[in-house]
Subunit: 296 residues, 2 copies
């Protein structure tokens, strides 16, 4: 069977079946934003990687600085979505022969933009020759045991929130990994589930719903988005790197009372029988098709 | 300046200069086989990654099983060379659309060959579309503080050893990551420096010499290699994945008295004034040019 038929998530499911985690310290293996490993009494290790490839994830004409910033930002977003702090990263670079030292430096300046902001380190990596530019970054982060949030903890009645505004122009290049927001949330609220919107709002919501065995109702009027963009696009376009999270109604009210602006309630978790429903501006229910970003 | 002019190591030096490790827990950043991070009273974290790219590191006609085995074996070898044990890995895969599920499964079977043998886990990764097959694996390992060996600890008079025999046919596919040998060495002997021979005997020896600020004398007659191969090739060809290590003469004699067969003394560490010298079968000194494997 061709992988183009299976799709990325189908392929991931098959790969998952090949693995059996025997090590009791592996709290979460394949199937969340980060692997979660039991470290000591107080902390888990978060371990994740993201690969960017020229002509697939970006075009050649994007500046190396922005590509570097994006590549590093993506993997930081994984750590943010588990409530953790990034600490150490490795960078694998695939470079064509004709690239200049200046080009490589600019990629690293993109990395360093986040290194300075979030106070972590690049501790090593690998360099290889390649026809197309490849950047694969892996990250080691840490989260207090009491603060870890996975995809599988959403509960019926939880309010669904997102950070920021969806569909903003060039967001795939200029996003902010929500490290600080993730920390604020897990340090101050009982967050039941969280994910970053790297594959699109509906796709990533559906990961939470599947793993938590629940359904959801979304309200179009509550979803903040750039009105220049078609709403259907907003629901399905990937690379937003905002956080999507759920928390009990009482906690949600407390969060809103903080008036932080960046957190927007967009719907509610319901029983799995309901599936996913979208209520539009006329309070009409709309059927939802989940497309999301497809790699294959 | 083109990176083809700088070469891999020149480029690495430049990248290293862009980084300043502020975190006191980073014991070793860029410039060894693994990054080394202080974890707790007893242990360091080892963190490393290796990237393989079709048509650069292997040809398309190599079986996916062997490619998977090789990719995972490379990164295990990094951990072996620091005396550590691998525990958790992430796999980033770049795949073209027309690949089959069976193809991907075979790559994973290659990974699992080592997973079973060395008792570690694949805990996650990333999948992306790519024109050429790309495999980038990062590993988290651990080593007891008393057992860590770096590249920079070689001392004058140390005896230089390698594991195994160099230049064996298809060694770049069928090598054994020397995890068990590495552990045996650090658990039982005072090893002053160690590296894996991924870039060629001379190239990797020179990393130890530079970082330890010493020189070396090698004896051609002592270097075990496949006689079908030109000796000059043996000195310079990469992807051997044997360990190269140094230890004091007394410890070296004790190691040899164990008669384990796999450990071969090939020379001695001398003052840096001597540079690197090779004594051939007629006890003639030969000048040595270090070529090693060049990515660019």
């Amino acid at each position: 069977m061709r992988i183009s038929k299976l799709g990325e998530f189908g392929l991931l499911e098959r790969i998952k079946k090949l693995m059996k985690h025997k090590d009791p310290l592996v709290v979460k293996g394949i199937g969340d934003d980060c692997a979660v490993i039991d470290l000591d009494k107080k902390r888990y290790i978060l371990f994740s990687c993201d690969m960017l490839i020229e002509d697939v994830d970006f075009r050649e004409n994007i500046s190396p600085y922005l590509i570097g910033r994006k590549a590093m930002g993506m993997v930081l977003s994984d750590v943010a979505s588990k409530g953790g702090l990034p600490k150490y990263t490795l960078v694998s670079l695939g470079l064509s022969k004709n690239k200049t030292l200046d080009f490589v430096k600019k990629i690293y300046q993109g990395f360093m933009y986040w290194v300075k902001r979030f106070n972590f380190e690049i501790v090593g990596g690998d360099i290889s020759r390649a026809e197309k530019l490849i950047i694969d970054i892996s990250v080691l982060g840490f989260v207090e045991k009491k603060n870890l949030v996975l995809r599988n903890g959403a509960k019926v009645n939880d309010i669904i929130f997102i950070t920021g505004k969806l569909g903003r122009k060039d967001k795939h290049l200029y996003f902010l990994p929500r490290i600080e927001e993730g920390r604020y949330l897990v340090n101050n609220f009982r967050i039941n589930s969280m994910i970053d919107i790297s594959d699109g709002l509906l796709q990533d919501l559906s990961h939470i719903l599947q793993q938590s065995k629940v359904g959801a109702v979304l309200y179009k009027n509550l979803i903040p988005y750039d009105k220049k963009i078609n709403f259907d696009e907003v629901l399905n376009q990937g690379e937003e790197y905002e956080l999507l999270f759920t928390l009990p109604p009482k906690e949600a009210r407390r969060l809103l009372s903080m008036k932080r602006g960046v957190y927007h309630g967009i719907g509610q978790i319901v029983s799995s029988d309901y599936g996913v429903r979208l209520i539009d501006e006329n309070f009409q229910e709309r059927k939802i098709k989940i497309r999301g970003f497809r790699h294959f």
